[in-house]
Structure formats: structure tokens, C-alpha cells
């Protein structure tokens, strides 16, 4: 049977793509080391943990899904996920390997648990997935992805959004889905997005480091307290676009009670509060 062996929360942002693509020297510069250094730690941790699959809870930014038919939750059941062209040409990565069999199992389990997701046999992933993923799942030497993924997209851009409590429960359902999968796979659950940022209006560029750090503390120590926040509160605390943090909450909901925060890194820089947090799960 499959098991969940860890969790990762990570910001996603086009800026992370620009810096990654600029090469190792820029990633290790004084300006970006505070973000990319901790990612290296996470990559080393994953190297040791040797997961077979990453289930990635993320959000699309109108690169795969559009307002004509916007899914609240959407799950990939494909064997490959091409990189989306977000309007500037797609980044030169090969398609990400998937796991259709695991995807379909998760689809059945979520529906059995009354999470009626949109089921996607074709899905292009945007920076919601592939801005943090190369840092932990790509071998530059071999030019290939290492760990297959199953993507699960959450609507965090077109209100009404699924509530933080609903996203937590989605994580719990995702846990049951993974644990009931027949193959002997070691799975790490990833949640991407946030932390604080504001891309519209007079507060453009505002970040709120105190709240971001409090969010990561609560996620580690008392995650269920975060299910009581309303979107109005989350927006006031972290900015309109910061509501992506519910993807982290879903990830945390998939972990057992005893999960323990391992790496916790935070870097408020320019217009983003960048967060990175890993969770260790006792064997």
C-alpha cells in the first residue's frame, strides 16, 4: 500500500522561474541565496527520503483553466503534464511525468469522499507547479524530471472560493486516497502558493512578514486553527493574492497528527513573501 512520507509548502512565483533560469550563480547570489539556499536543503532532504510520487496541490493562473468553465477542484489523471505557455512562450522543460493510475485512484477516492473534482486527462501546468518544482525535482545534469507528479488544482482566483476548512478537509480526503492505493509507493504531498503578496490596487507590492511567519507557525503547531479564518481575514492579513495559502492548508491536512516541521525558511523580498516549509512524518 502507498504511504505519505512527508510534506512541503512552497511559494510559487514567476520571479522564482526567472532566477532559476538565470543559472546557479544568480541563485547563489546574496540577493537570492536566502530563497534558493533553503530549496537546496529541501532537495537534499528529498534525495534521502526517496519519494516515488509528489502530489502537488496548487493553483492555475488562467493558463490551463479559464473563466468560461472554472473548476473549484481539478485533478490530473494523465501520464504527462506539459508546461503551459503563460503568454511568453513555455519554459524549456520537458513535460512532467505523471501517474495516471494513481491519479484515477485519487479521483475515485475523492468522489467517494464527496469531493466532486473535475477530472483532467490533459492538463498543462503553469508556474503554480513549475516555479518551485525544478528546485527539488529536476536533474540539471541529466536534463530530466526525477519524481512523477499528480497535480490537484484549487480555485483561489475566482470568488466564491472553497473555504479554508474545505481545503483542509480536501487534504484529509487526499490522505485517505493515497493510503488506500494498492501500489507500494512513497508519496510526498506538496502545497504551493503565497505567502503574502498584493498585485492589484494601491497596496501593490505590499508584503506582511509578521503574518507570513505566524501562518507558518500555525501550520506547524495548530493547523486546524487556520480553518477558522475567512477569506476576508486572509486578504486583509496577506493581500488579495495571498489566499493561495489554502493550498498549503490542504497539504497539511493530508499529513498525520504527529507531522513535524523540519525546514522553515522565509524571505520577504521585493513584492513577495517567500515561504518554504517541510514536514517530517514518523515512519
Amino acid at each position: 500500500m502507498a504511504s505519505i512520507v512527508g510534506g512541503i509548502g512552497a511559494s510559487h512565483a514567476p520571479s522564482m522561474e526567472h532566477i532559476y533560469d538565470a543559472g546557479e550563480e544568480v541563485r547563489e547570489s546574496d540577493e537570492w541565496q536566502p530563497l534558493f539556499g533553503p530549496f537546496k536543503q529541501v532537495a537534499d532532504w528529498l534525495e534521502e527520503l526517496k519519494p516515488d510520487r509528489l502530489v502537488v496541490v496548487y493553483n492555475d493562473h488562467m493558463d490551463q483553466f479559464f473563466l468560461d468553465a472554472y473548476p473549484t477542484f481539478a485533478l490530473g489523471v494523465a501520464d504527462t503534464y506539459p508546461v503551459a505557455d503563460e503568454g511568453f512562450g513555455a519554459r524549456p522543460f520537458p513535460p512532467l511525468p505523471g501517474d495516471a493510475k494513481l491519479g484515477w485512484h485519487i479521483a475515485r477516492s475523492l468522489v467517494a469522499d464527496e469531493f466532486d473534482i473535475t477530472i483532467c486527462q490533459a492538463l498543462e501546468v503553469d508556474h503554480g507547479v513549475i516555479s518551485p518544482l525544478p528546485m527539488v525535482d529536476f536533474s540539471e545534469g541529466e536534463g530530466g524530471w526525477k519524481i512523477p507528479i499528480v497535480p490537484l488544482a484549487v480555485n483561489v482566483i475566482l470568488h466564491p472560493l472553497p473555504s479554508p476548512l474545505r481545503c483542509w478537509k480536501l487534504g484529509q480526503a487526499l490522505r485517505r486516497a493515497i493510503l488506500s492505493f494498492e501500489d507500494d509507493l512513497r508519496v510526498v504531498v506538496v502545497g504551493t502558493g503565497g505567502l503574502s503578496h498584493q498585485l492589484t490596487g494601491p497596496r501593490f507590492g505590499q508584503v506582511t512578514p509578521d503574518w507570513d511567519q505566524e501562518f507558518m507557525r500555525l501550520l506547524a503547531e495548530e493547523p486546524e486553527s487556520l480553518t477558522k479564518y475567512t477569506y476576508k481575514q486572509l486578504i486583509e492579513l496577506g493581500g488579495t493574492e495571498s489566499v493561495e495559502v489554502v493550498n498549503w492548508l490542504a497539504m497539511r491536512g493530508a499529513l498525520p497528527d504527529g507531522a513535524r516541521a523540519l525546514v522553515t525558511a522565509y524571505y520577504a523580498h521585493r513584492i513577495m513573501g517567500y515561504g518554504l516549509q517541510t514536514f517530517e512524518v514518523a515512519a
Binding site: H61, D85, G87, P160, Q198, G201, E236
Partner: protein, 116 residues
């Protein structure tokens, strides 16, 4: 009664209300207002649409039934006007790409806008 306090509280919380005036939402009002502009800017994720934008911006706009006011906002690269007209930031970045507008320029206009 069927409409319990619990239900009514959930219904109330699902639509954030009375946000400070300098914060905004992409919701029914915005999505309705911006329906043509969003469709137009979203199209730019496809290379042929970007080529058409470059070769004949007016023909590109004609595909989406934009109003004269909306077309004018696009022609003038009026980012605040486009935002107020309901354009989502996520498709606005596609329009910023095709017009070579750096995000900090949009940010500068946003900060000076005084709100929605």
C-alpha cells in the same frame, strides 16, 4: 428552519464584504464587468494570437467584441483603467508581455491609482 444560523454564517463568509477600499476581489462583479477584456487577454497565451496582436492590434481586438471604451484602454495601455474595467491581473500579465511592459511599471500605476 432549514436556513440554519450555521448555513447563514457560511453563506455570509463565502463572499468577502466590506474590504478596505484599497483591497479588491475578483468576483461576480469583476468577472461580469471584465468578461470581454479577460477573454481577449487570455487569448495571448497562444502564439498565433500574439502574432496577430503584433501585426494588427485592431483586428486582434475585433475578435472579442470589446466596447469602444475597452479598446481605447488597450490602445492607451491604461493598466489602471483595464484593472478597473475588470481585467484580472493573471491575464493582464499576458497583455503586459505582448506590449513589453515590465510588471514594476504596472505596479507603479497601481500604487498611484487611489483604488478601484
Amino acid at each position: 428552519m432549514e436556513l440554519t444560523q450555521d448555513y447563514l454564517a457560511r453563506l455570509d463568509a463565502v463572499q468577502p464584504k466590506e474590504l478596505p477600499t484599497d483591497l479588491d476581489l475578483f468576483d461576480e462583479a469583476t468577472a461580469t464587468r471584465g468578461i470581454r477584456l479577460n477573454k481577449a487577454a487570455y487569448s495571448l497565451k497562444d502564439e498565433p494570437q500574439r502574432e496577430l496582436f503584433h501585426s494588427d492590434e485592431e483586428a486582434w481586438m475585433d475578435q472579442f467584441g470589446l466596447t469602444d471604451t475597452e479598446k481605447d484602454l488597450v490602445r492607451r495601455r491604461d493598466w489602471i483603467g483595464l484593472w478597473r474595467a475588470g481585467m484580472s491581473i493573471y491575464v493582464m500579465v499576458k497583455l503586459s508581455g505582448v506590449t513589453n511592459t515590465p510588471l514594476p511599471e504596472i505596479g507603479k500605476q497601481m500604487r498611484e491609482s487611489g483604488g478601484s
